[in-house]
Every structure is written in C-alpha cells, then in structure tokens.
C-alpha cells in the first residue's frame, strides 16, 4: 500500500513529465517560428526579393505556427496543475518556504504568462488586424514570454535544489527571503535556465527535422522540408552546444552542492582521487552503501572522467555514497570532514527540539530560554531536514532511477550533437548526401525522423536525473518529502492521480492525432 507521500510524489512526477512533453516543444518551436517569420518579413519588405519566395516563408511560418498552437494549449493546461499542486499536495512546503518560493511563481504570472498568452492570441488571430512587423514582434514576444516563464519556474526549482537568499525565522516557523537577487540570480538558476532552454531549442529543432524527414521520405514538399530543416538544424546545433556547455557547468555545481546526487548519477559508492566515469554500466541490484558487493555488474569506464567532469581536475577526489554518508571528502588534496549522516540526523533533531523549546519559551515570555533555543537552532539549522529521517539510508536517492536516466541522457545527447552537426553540414554543403541509401534504406530521412523521439527521451531523462537524484529532499537538506505534504489521505490522491493520468493520456493522444493529421494533409 502506497502512502499519501508516495501518491503525492507520483502525481507530481506524472504531471511534471506530461508538462515536460509539451513545454520544450513550445520553447523550441517558438524560437524557430519567430526566426521563420522574421525571414518572411525581411523578404516581404525587400523589393529586390521575389514575392513568391516571401510567400514560401509565410507558408512555413504558418504551418509550424499551427503545430505550435496545438501544443501550446496542452502545455499551459498541464502547467496550471503543477502550480496548484504545490498547495493541494504539498501544503507544509507551501507554508515553510512559500515566502521565497511563491515570489517567482507570481512574477511568472504577472510578466511572462500574460506576455505569452496575450501575444499568442495576436499570433493566431492577428494576421489581418496587425501589420506584418507588429505580428512578427508578437511572435517574438510569445517566444520571449514562454522563455521568461521558464526562467521564473527554473528559479523556483533551482532554489529547491540549492536554497539561497533566505534565513529561518523561528517566530514565524518558516523560512523567509532576505535577498531577492540571490534567489533570482543564483548561479544554479542561471545555469539551469541555460541548460533547459538550450536543450528545448534542440528539441524543437529535432521536431521540425523529424517532420521534415517524413516529407523527404515520402517525396512531398521537399523544398519546404529542406528550408525548414536548415533553420531547425542551425537552431538545434546552437541549442545542443549550449546544452553541452551548461551541462558541464551543471556537473560542477552538482558536485559542489549536491554530491549525493552526483554519486547516484554515477552509481559511485566509494570515491578515490582520479575517479573514473562510467560510460556504460549495469548496476548490481544487491549493492548497498554498507556492504562489500561490487557496484556494477558490467561497466565500461572512462579513466578519470568523473574527476574531470565534477571538479575539472583529473586527480580530484569525488566522494561516493559511502564517503558522503560517513562524512568524508578530499578537496584540494586535503581531507575534509563534511559531517557524517548519523550526526546530521542527530543535529537535525537537536534543531527541531530547539525550535519546540523556543516556542514554549516564547509562550512563557522566557527571554533567556528563547535566546538559548534560538542560538542552538541557528547552530544546527542547516541539518534541520535530517531530523525528519529515521536512518541514514533514507537520505540516499534511488540509485538506479538516477543512474540509468543520466547515462541515457548523456548518450542520446551525444548522438544529437553528432547528428545535428552532420545535418547542418549535409543541408548546407552536401545536399546530395540526403539521398544516400544502405540496402534501399534512406539513411538521412529515417535518422531525421528518429531525432524528435530521441530528443524527448533525452529531455525527460534530464528531469528525472534532476528530480529523482535530489530525493528525499523537497528543499535540499531542509525539508524532506515526508515533511512537506498535505493532510489529504492516500485514497484521495490515488483517485486524482488516475483521473489526471487518464485525462493527460487522452489529451496527449488527441494532440498527436491532430498534429499527425495536419502534417499529413499539408497542402
């Protein structure tokens, strides 16, 4: 029998995964449509350009815009559920950090979402009512609004992964914001934004390339398909390169701020200087942090790869799960005590007791007692969340659910980089290679068609790594999931889980059906 916490986690994860099917397409396709419309406007307003050419770009813009519109609606529909689920399923969380977390969500609504939805209406209904420059500006503003929306959501998410700009107020029994700029411009947020947005550009580009690949395979609209692929290829290549660069920075940040997540990503239990990176591996299911089993059944290693990835130093020590639990790390050649997990749990409980004592002392107006409790709380607060854990094992994220998605993401991301590089080369320099066949099999169109599913799997895996890898924390080190929930019983959440699962699945099928029809029937 699953508990309310587990059903709430399942519901949030399911909603987020559905949401993330649509949002990266909105972000990526929004950019590509805006580029296409800009080219159209330039050609239309240039007397030296044949109007037929401008009309071709207008046709491209409108076609991809239609698909953008089909996807946009379901993206916002799943997004609103996520926002409200913070309250419905995570009510303790909403109070404990609402002072900080609510602000980005409100700003997203006021600035980004209004911008996005207002100019979305212009994009679709304003062709006759606005000038072409105004319409093009509206298309850019829609893409900009969507991107800004992502910015604020990622600020909120990054803050959960690496809480900054706040302090705990025992009088209010919650965390309060003390620096908005620290929250809004935290390096984690900036990097996550770059990583997510650029990966979304490449996903949107892969979608365009996949649909165009189908036209090439069928021998239909080949001029349209090649022009679309050129725009998408360049956008996608820029996107995947940005993703790689920000991914590298992300690895360094995770090593520093969430070492347990990095250890789970790599299935690393015991670190050493010059730690290898597992390029491919199968985890040993019997491995626990406190037994002597091998971590891997099969593995292909890249020597010193993880040290280079995590600390940009081939000789660096990367702590494994056992090291972290036992409080061991080596930084710059010196052994560092990072506080072992048993002690963290103990200190978390001391912090919680100090908070109780503070409340009691306040009720009695005992100023001395309040001062003592407050000092004790401040001393141990950084481990407050550990006080909710029963034993150290509860602080380990699900290793398999972090390890495999991470490796799938890296392998598929690497493939997308190679494929997009090759595509751009072929599209701009060697178009005749597009007809290359192996045993009658048209290589390029088929690979192009596979690009979008690959990008989606890659993108989903990225979020699984980010979110499963930080378990059990809703807010790193401060609040685990079991302390964040609402008082709703498991039966209620189970029912809404299945209602949303059925609804989202039906709507996804409906969206796919409409898109396929529009793609097939393109005139």
């Amino acid at each position: 029998m699953l508990t309310a916490v587990e059903w709430s986690r399942a519901q949030f994860a399911m909603t987020a995964m559905y949401h993330w099917l649509f949002v990266p397409l909105t972000l990526g396709l929004g950019l590509i449509v805006a580029i296409m419309e800009t080219v159209y406007v330039r050609k239309k307003l240039n007397p030296a350009t044949a109007q037929a050419e401008a009309a071709e770009w207008l046709d491209m813009t409108k076609f991809w815009m239609r698909l953008f519109g089909v996807n946009f609606a379901i993206g916002v529909a799943t997004g609103i559920v996520l926002e409200f689920e913070f309250g419905t399923n995570w009510s303790n969380y909403s109070w404990f950090v609402g002072d900080i977390f609510g602000a980005p969500l409100a700003i997203e609504g006021i600035f980004a979402f209004f911008c996005e939805s207002t100019f979305f209406a212009v994009m679709f209904f304003g062709w006759e009512k606005f000038g072409i420059r105004q319409h093009c500006a509206a298309t850019w503003l829609t893409a900009f609004g969507a991107t800004m929306s992502a910015w604020w959501i990622l600020v909120a998410n990054s803050w959960m992964q690496h809480p900054v700009g706040m302090e705990f107020d025992p009088d209010q029994m919650r965390n309060v914001m003390v620096s908005f700029t620290d929250v809004a411009l935290s390096p984690t947020a900036v990097n996550k934004f770059c990583h997510v947005v650029t990966s979304s550009w490449s996903l949107g580009a892969c979608f365009v390339i996949s649909v165009s690949g189908w036209y090439l395979l069928k021998g239909r609209h080949t001029g349209f398909a090649i022009r679309s692929m050129k725009v998408a290829g360049v956008a996608g290549l820029a996107g995947i390169m940005g993703t790689m660069i920000s991914g590298d920075t992300s690895a360094v940040q995770v090593t520093k701020d969430q070492p347990m997540k990095l250890a789970a990503m790599e299935g690393l239990y015991e670190g050493r200087p010059g730690t290898d990176l597992v390029g491919f591996g199968i985890l040993n299911p019997d491995k626990k942090w406190d037994n002597d089993e091998d971590a891997m059944l099969v593995e292909i290693k890249i020597p010193r790869g993880l040290s280079i990835l995590g600390r940009h130093d081939p000789d660096a020590f990367i702590p494994g799960i056992k090291d972290i639990i036992e409080g061991r790390d080596i930084v710059d050649g010196k052994e560092v005590n990072t506080v072992n997990y048993s002690e963290r749990i103990l200190r978390g409980r001391i912090a919680q007791k100090a908070l109780r004592d503070y409340g009691r002392a306040r009720e009695c107006n005992d100023m001395v007692g309040m001062k003592e409790a407050r000092e004790k709380l401040a001393k141990h607060y950084r481990f407050f969340g550990y006080g909710y854990l029963g034993k150290v094992d509860e602080a380990i994220p699900p290793v398999a659910m972090t390890f495999y998605p991470f490796h799938i993401m890296v392998i598929l991301g690497g493939w997308l980089l190679v494929f997009l590089c090759a595509s751009v080369w072929i599209l701009f320099r060697r178009q005749e290679w597009m007809k290359f066949r192996i045993a009658g099999w048209q290589v390029f169109p088929w690979l192009a068609m596979a690009a979008a599913p690959v990008a989606w799997v890659c993108s989903q895996c990225g979020w699984i790594v980010a979110e499963v890898g930080r378990q059990p924390w809703t807010i790193q080190d401060i609040m685990p999931v079991q302390a964040a929930i609402s008082s709703v019983g498991p039966g209620n959440v189970k029912l809404t889980f299945f209602i949303f699962l059925i609804l989202f699945t039906c709507l996804l099928m409906a969206e796919i059906g409409i898109m396929v029809k529009q793609i097939k029937d393109k005139k």
Binding site: D99, G102, L105, A106, M173, K517
Partner: protein, 368 residues
C-alpha cells in the same frame, strides 16, 4: 512602507485580481450557454468564435491569482488548497479540459470529436464559476480546518506533522452548505449575463442578438433572486473580529458592519450594484442598446472588490475557521514576510503596463 501597509496593499492586489477573474468568467458563462438547445449550429459557432480569443486571458488571470496568493498569503495557499482538495482539483480539472477545447474542437484529426470538446467547454462553463464562487464565499462562511505550526517541529508527542488539517471530506462538505452553493450559483448566472452582454456587443447577427436578449431576461431573473438571497445571507451572517494575532471575537452582522464602516467598500458595492442593474435594465428595455457589457463588467469588478474588502479589511479574518476560531487566517497572520511583500510590491508597479498592452491587444483584436 510599514508591514501593515504592505499586507493591506497585497490584499488590495488580490482583490483586483479576484475581481478581474470574476469578470473574465464571462468566457465560462458563454460556454455554459452552449447547453441551451434552442441555438442553431451557426449561432453556436458565432458565439464560440467571439469568446475563443479570450480564454487564455481568463486562464492567465487565474494562474496569476493563484501565484499572487501563494507569494503574498502563503498560509492561505497552504491551508485552503491542501485542505479543500477536491474543490480545487475539480476547478483545475475543468480548466485543463477547457484549455485544449477551443484549439482542438475544430481541428482536423480531432479523434474525440467536436461534441466531446463542446461538452468539456460546457462542463468548465458551469463547474468553474460555481466552485470558484463557492470557494470565494468561504472567505465569509469559513471552512473546517485547524492550523498548528508546532507540528513542523516533528514533536514526538504530537501526532502528524502537517500544520493544516481538515475534515475527512476535503472540501466536498462545502457543497452541503446552502449559502456556499447559492453564492456559487449566483456567480454562474452573473457570468452568463456577462457573456450574453458580450455576445450582444460583439456579434453583428440579428438571430444571436435576439436570442441573447431573451436569455438576458431569463438569466437576470434567476441571478437577481440568487443575488438577493446571497447578499441577505452575507449581511446577516455572523463574523469574526481580530483582537490579537490568534484571538478573535464573534460579531453579529459582521459583514454588514464592515460595509458601513468601510466607505470605499460601500461606495464600490452600491455603484457596482447600480451599474449591473442598469446594464441589465437598459439591455432588456432598449432593443438597440448593445453596450450593456460596459456597465455590467465594471459593475461586477466593483462588487467583487467590495466583497474582498469587507472579507479582509477592518480587522476581519478573511478565512475563518469553523472548527477552531484561533486558527482563522487574517491578512496579518498569513502573509509573507515584510521583505518579500516589499520586493513584490516593486514588481507590482509593472502591472499597469501589463494591463495597458493587454488592453491595446484586446482593442485591436476586437476592431471590426
């Protein structure tokens, strides 16, 4: 800026967003009218077409309303959303199906069929105004919850660690409260009247005009009865007065007294009621009059503003607890910190610019 000023300022912003949301529910009101059987397919499409460009704005106002409540009064967000689980989930569910329906209903390759999406629109059109209206009415009539912050300390002597606890029905019990249901139905019929006014203003078609005017009469009769009953229930209701952070006194006719003691609320309520009634009367009595929406729309905004003000100002807890009076939420004990409210207040200065470009786009899209 003092902390109290910021808390009151944010309640004002929440009131504005709430008022705009209720006004924008005319989209839902229009959807609920699709249930009528005496509309031809052609007229139905004209009506859907006239509100199709607007659903995003209602949706966005709802999202912003939720986000602003979270940022400014997180304890309400935590208590109400986590407690009245089913009410909020049903609202969400209907907004999810609405969001896709306008785009998908007429699209080729639509496997669920146009009728399915029309049913989605009707469901959202009826359920969302009733439940949102009902949820707002709990600002006056309260809900069955308790709030115990100490549970966050993981005290082994206290069972459970969730600070807000509710009854076992998680919001469904509100549907058994006639005052809540009456309030919700009033919002539904108000949104239907607004939608009819919108159709009269926007659609240059004699059949639609004629049908809409007939419907204004019928819906107005129901609305006026519900409005009278709801206001009677509200102004004769017993409410709470804040004596200290968690100490409250029970006061008879609390909301009537608030209306009298808050001149701005009284002025807004009276002016709003007159405007709504004038909009209805002129539309019904003058066959060529098409600008009813410009009276009923702002009138609705004023009435909702007045209701939010009497719910939260004048030392009144805006979310009374029927189970434990001491757990009642006020704008002072449920708000964000001074720092967050102040920071967000600077952000809110941009709201007029946002409204300005929305108004410009709306105007351009409505040009004939």
């Amino acid at each position: 800026m003092s902390y109290e000023f910021l808390q009151e300022y944010w309640w004002l912003l929440i009131s504005v967003l709430g008022a705009l949301l209720v006004f924008m529910l005319f989209v839902q009101g229009g959807q609920s009218l699709l249930l009528q059987r005496d509309i031809s397919d052609r007229d139905r499409e004209l009506m859907i077409g006239s509100i199709a460009h607007r659903w995003e704005l209602t949706f966005t106002v709802l999202v912003t309303f939720g986000g602003a409540f979270f940022a400014s009064f997180p304890l309400f967000y935590s208590t109400s959303f986590g407690g009245a689980y089913w009410i909020w989930m049903l609202i969400l569910l209907t907004f999810v199906i609405q969001a896709v329906s306008y785009k998908y209903r007429g699209a080729e390759g639509n496997r669920l069929g146009r009728e399915t999406y029309d049913r989605f629109l009707i469901a959202n059109g009826i359920i969302a105004p009733v439940l949102l209206g009902g949820a707002v009415s709990t600002f006056f009539y309260g809900s069955e919850f308790t709030v115990q912050m100490a549970k966050l300390t993981n005290d082994p002597e206290v069972s459970g660690n969730v600070i807000s606890t509710w009854g076992e029905y998680h919001g469904l019990e509100l549907l058994a409260n006639w005052r809540v249901v009456c309030f919700g139905l009033m919002v539904l019929f108000l949104s239907r009247i607004q939608a009819l006014m919108w159709f009269i203003n926007q659609i240059d078609d004699k059949d639609v005009q004629k049908w809409s005017r007939r419907q204004v009469v019928l819906n107005s009769v129901v609305f006026l009865v519900l409005f009278a009953v709801s206001m009677y229930a509200l102004f004769t209701a017993t409410g709470l007065k804040t004596m200290d952070t968690h100490q409250f006194q029970i006061i008879r006719y609390r909301y009537l007294l608030n209306l009298i003691q808050l001149p701005a609320a009284m002025a807004a309520f009276v002016a709003g009621t007159i405007m709504v009634l004038a909009g209805i009367a002129r539309t019904v009595l003058k066959p060529g009059f098409r600008r009813g929406i410009w009276l009923t729309g702002p009138g609705t905004v004023l009435i909702v503003l007045a209701l939010f003000w009497i719910a939260g100002y004048n030392s009144t807890p805006f979310y009374p607890s029927c189970t434990d009076i001491a757990s009642s939420l006020t704008i002072y004990n449920s708000s964000s910190s001074r720092f967050t409210l102040e920071t967000m207040s600077y952000v809110s200065l941009a709201i007029p610019f946002v409204f300005a470009y929305i108004a410009w786009v709306w105007y351009k899209l409505s040009e004939r």
